[in-house]
């Protein structure tokens, strides 16, 4: 069986914040969540999505760190900044294409998801993927995903011509092989189209 990985499936997200609350229980960064929940556009939809570190193959956060405080483990987990090195400049905060790292004034360092290294290194799932009620955050093997899920995992993102490959995958509709992130018009869509039909009659 191949190695387990983290998959994010926004279509399943119910916006409950279990991931956020559970993450903030961790002893290493207690009271501070390394995962956050994005509410997309509440006026028009109840869509939400969890945002975790995508653990890039070539992490921009580490590349721009002047203090070399952000390390990647041999198996590809990009770590929280090393406390003695982090100078709190927040370069990483601005450089990350996914908006993940946050500078925490209380701890005076940048902190981000490290894939629950303490849990995953002993064979457990990351905390967020363990508690997620809808399994919008799933920790499993590529085979489990291929057999069990109806979408396709992608881990290639294009930001203005730059391709970023990540350890964490995003579930997308079948036929998608990469996500080209463009500035595009926001489509306003009422979820109650059927209702409008009834009322217009």
């Amino acid at each position: 069986m191949s190695e387990r990985r983290l998959y994010i499936d926004p279509s399943r997200c119910i916006g409950c914040n279990a991931c956020v609350e559970a993450c903030s229980e961790c002893e290493t960064h207690a009271g501070f969540s390394m995962i956050h929940l994005e509410t997309i556009q509440r006026g028009d939809t109840v869509q939400t999505t969890p945002v975790v570190c995508m653990h890039c193959d070539d992490p921009a956060c580490a590349a721009v760190c002047p203090a070399d405080a952000i390390k990647r483990t041999p198996d590809g987990a990009v770590q929280t900044s090393l406390k003695p090195r982090c100078i709190g400049c927040s370069n990483c905060v601005f450089a990350c294409p996914f908006g993940v790292p946050k500078y925490h004034a209380g701890y005076d360092q940048m902190m981000k998801c490290d894939l629950c290294y303490d849990r995953t290194s002993v064979g457990k799932k990351p905390m967020c993927a363990t508690v997620c009620p809808s399994q919008a955050i799933l920790y499993g093997t590529p085979e489990e995903i291929a057999q069990g899920r109806r979408g396709t995992p992608i881990n290639e993102f294009v930001f203005g011509g730059t391709t970023v490959r990540t350890k964490v995958s995003l579930m997308m509709p079948h036929g998608t092989d990469r996500l080209d992130v463009k500035r595009s018009a926001i489509v306003r869509k009422s979820d109650l189209i059927q209702l409008a039909r009834v009322q217009s009659e």
Binding site: I14, C16, E25, T130, C132, P133, V198, Q199
Partner: protein, 730 residues
């Protein structure tokens, strides 16, 4: 004297809700646990398995319990934070008494017990036994639920006993009994995985039973279709295959129309109907009496979508129908439930793998609690209190004469009405916060203030307990041993992780001591929760909810046992009706026609907007527990009004504006949440808050004639923009 001794603000300043943000010792200081206790979450009917971390007799954190089969470690945010109650600054550590002008002051247990007993005896000798009422709740374990029923009937000797499940499961229970003769979800949730079509009606699955969403998604990944019936676009509606955005309060019309589609398009399983049911002909006639166009007009759902739903349901080989309070909290709650069961029976899809039906229990022990005898008309094992054989059996178990067993009393709302009318003079309550959870809060407040005596057993001082004369500091879920029964009908073990803090006592020991002091100790010789369970097993034996074969030992070894389980060697029953034998005459399930009945209140010029109420994922019921947990409160600090932009713009209301919602009973002023995810004729307010923010200032005391559930899901209101929040104190 059950008026407030001091203003609410003063009580709140002393007893909360204050927010507990950090575990005992602070985030950094909680240290390593001495032990991990495998138990369950207390905050919804799914009863997720969870491990509590304990150090020095205090709960300091949690760890997922991945081996527990139902949730496999999954938890919603309530489950994550549930551990913070035991060390909470608001936790009651000693009994209290009301002192006029001072508030609530700590007293010795001796005074708490003797005052309560003296007052009960005074009221009963002056006004009769039934002038004392007992109100209970199903966040309690099976043992405590059983004990509450026996305590009221044998120690207080009153018939006026009911519980907060009256606001929860009673419509489903009554419907299930009429159709199947047994009150339980017909299947365990594993059958959801095998369903080809899943129909959810009146249930915000994502927020009220979050773990169920994974079951539904696993079915969808296999290709199952999902039909959602809901006036709002909830998170599961967002991605479903067919959404019927129903007008609140009209459900039976929609389901009956779907039945009509099944009949007209030849989807009825004639053989099943002929061999295994009664009542089809009349039900069929009623279904054919209402045209789809008429149903569409009533429900505000397009005819094409009704037909689509009928075809999706009709053509499927396997199916699962789930419903919850959305259809049950109505004056035709029971009819709505029956109208759902009719489409299940018409297609004969029950009792087989992937063919299921069930209501989603709302409260922690909503399932088990209602089976064992603190419902005004039921005796343990789901027995009927007016059935002579059932009475005789329980009298035998309890060692009493029939004349000593009270008959059926009144339901929770009726009891409150009787308190208001002065027919009931004294109240003992446990695990119930009617001032927040009953409809028409102003009426409830007035009623409570008329009590001559009120003793509340509670671990936090709930809003209702503000009106108490004596408050007895009881126990949390994690402070006593016991069992509960999940939405699936799985009996599970609740563990005592810690003993009650300070001078607080276990709920059980409080009830036992009261019984002893009332001179009825001979009926309450229990040394442990397990003793109570063992009596419950015998009391339930032969009833439909038969627990006789379930033991603490088995539950632990098997990680839960599904009732009915009539003998020790019996494997338990995850799926009911596999033999197509129903607990009704001739072993046949019963169709019940559901001719449409309108809601209690229709909209008119004065009150043109429909109000519906419900939950948010981060709060539980009346909020007496969850409004004290910092992490949860941050997720949804205040109630709000969900309103469609078209309705909002008619009133000049923008997102975030204060708005006033007013009914014939009262008003609230809250912020508007302007969203296209709700019907334009309907507004929604979550109900977990008290006082001026309470949605139940608006709802009415309109009850289903059978289940006596109030019509929370449909009131009529008028709305206007407000300048500010206005005065917030009561």
């Amino acid at each position: 004297m059950a008026k407030l001794p001091v203003p609410v603000s003063q009580i709140v300043a002393e007893f909360g809700p204050t927010l507990n943000d950090e575990p005992v010792g602070g985030w950094r200081g909680r240290g390593e646990p001495d032990k991990l206790v495998k138990t369950h979450c207390c905050f919804c009917g799914q009863q997720c398995g969870i491990q509590l971390k304990v150090r020095d007799n205090r709960v300091i954190g949690f760890e997922p319990w991945e081996e527990f089969p139902f949730n496999k470690g999954k938890l919603c945010p309530k489950g994550v934070k549930r551990y913070m109650q035991n060390n909470h600054p608001d936790r009651l550590l000693a009994p209290l008494k009301r002192v006029e002008g001072k508030g609530f002051v700590p007293i010795q247990w001796e005074e708490a017990f003797s005052t309560t007993v003296r007052e009960i005896q005074r009221v009963q000798s002056q006004y009769g036994k039934d002038a004392v009422a007992f109100l209970s709740g199903v966040s309690l374990t099976n043992e405590k639920s059983y004990l509450a029923g026996k305590f009221a009937r044998l120690a207080l000797q009153t018939k006026e006993l009911d519980y907060n499940g009256r606001l929860c499961m009673v419509s489903a229970g009554a419907g299930n009994k009429k159709a199947f003769g047994v009150d339980r979800a017909a299947n365990y949730w594993d059958d959801i995985l095998l369903a080809d079509v899943i129909l959810c009606t009146g249930t915000n699955v994502a927020e009220c039973s979050p773990i169920t969403t994974d079951y539904i998604w696993r079915a969808r990944d296999r290709g199952a279709k999902l039909i959602m019936i809901d006036p709002r676009v909830t998170p599961m509606v967002r991605t479903c295959d067919l959404h019927l955005p129903i007008r609140p309060g009209t459900d039976s019309a929609l389901m009956t129309a779907i039945l009509r589609v099944l009949i007209e398009e030849g989807f009825v399983n004639e053989e099943f109907v002929r061999e295994h049911t009664n009542g089809w002909e009349e039900t069929r006639q009623v279904a054919l009496e209402t045209s789809l166009e008429e149903a569409s007009r009533i429900c505000g759902v397009h005819v094409d979508d009704i037909v689509k739903a009928g075809r999706m349901w009709g053509a499927a080989k396997t199916s699962f129908l789930l419903h919850a309070r959305g259809i049950e909290h109505q004056v035709k709650g029971v009819d709505n439930v029956l109208s759902c069961i009719n489409i299940v029976l018409a297609t004969g899809r029950i009792g087989r793998p992937g063919c299921g039906y069930g209501t989603i229990t709302g409260q922690g022990n909503g399932q088990g609690g209602r089976e064992h005898g603190h419902k005004c008309d039921q005796l343990p094992g789901n027995r009927e209190i007016e059935n002579p054989e059932h009475r005789a059996y329980i009298c035998g178990v309890w060692g009493i004469e029939d004349s000593e067993l009270p008959h059926a009393g009144h339901t929770a709302q009726e009891i409150m009405n009787m308190i208001h009318e002065g027919e009931i003079k004294a109240l003992i309550s446990i695990c119930f916060n009617p001032l927040v959870s009953l409809p028409d809060s102003n009426f409830t407040r007035e009623a409570l203030s008329r009590l001559e005596h009120f003793t509340a057993i509670d671990f936090f001082l709930s809003e209702t307990a503000h009106h108490a004369d004596i408050v007895m500091a009881g126990s949390l879920h994690e402070e006593e041993e016991g069992t509960s029964t999940s939405a699936e009908g799985r009996v599970i073990r609740i563990r005592q992780a810690v003993t009650p803090p300070g001078d607080a006592k276990t709920d059980t020991s409080i009830l036992l001591e009261l019984a002893r002091r009332l001179g009825r100790g001979q009926y309450f010789q229990f040394e442990s929760s397990e003793d109570i369970f063992n009596e419950l097993r015998v009391a339930s034996k032969g009833g439909t909810a038969d627990y006789y074969g379930i033991t603490y030992d088995r539950i632990e070894k098997e990680m839960g046992v599904f009732w009915p389980c009539p003998e020790i060697g019996h494997p338990g029953t995850p799926r009911l009706f596999e033999d197509l034998q129903f607990s009704k005459p001739g072993g046949r399930a019963v169709f019940n026609p559901t001719p449409y009945r309108p809601p209690a209140e229709e909209t008119d010029e004065e009150y043109p907007v429909i109000l519906t109420t419900g939950r948010v994922v981060s709060q539980y019921l009346s909020g007496t527990q969850t409004r004290r947990l910092g992490g949860l409160v941050e997720l949804c600090p205040e109630p709000y009004v969900e309103i469609h932009p078209s309705l909002a713009s008619e009133h000049g209301i923008a997102d975030g504006d204060w708005m006033t919602v007013e009914s014939r009973r009262g008003r609230v002023t809250l912020r508007a949440k302007v969203v296209t995810t709700i019907r334009p004729d309907t507004v929604f307010i979550p109900y977990h808050w008290p006082g001026k923010k309470s949605a139940n200032n608006l709802t009415g005391r309109f009850l289903d004639p059978v289940s006596k559930i109030p019509e929370f899901k449909r009131s009529v209101v008028r709305i206007r923009k407000a300048e500010g929040a206005g005065p917030q104190e009561d």
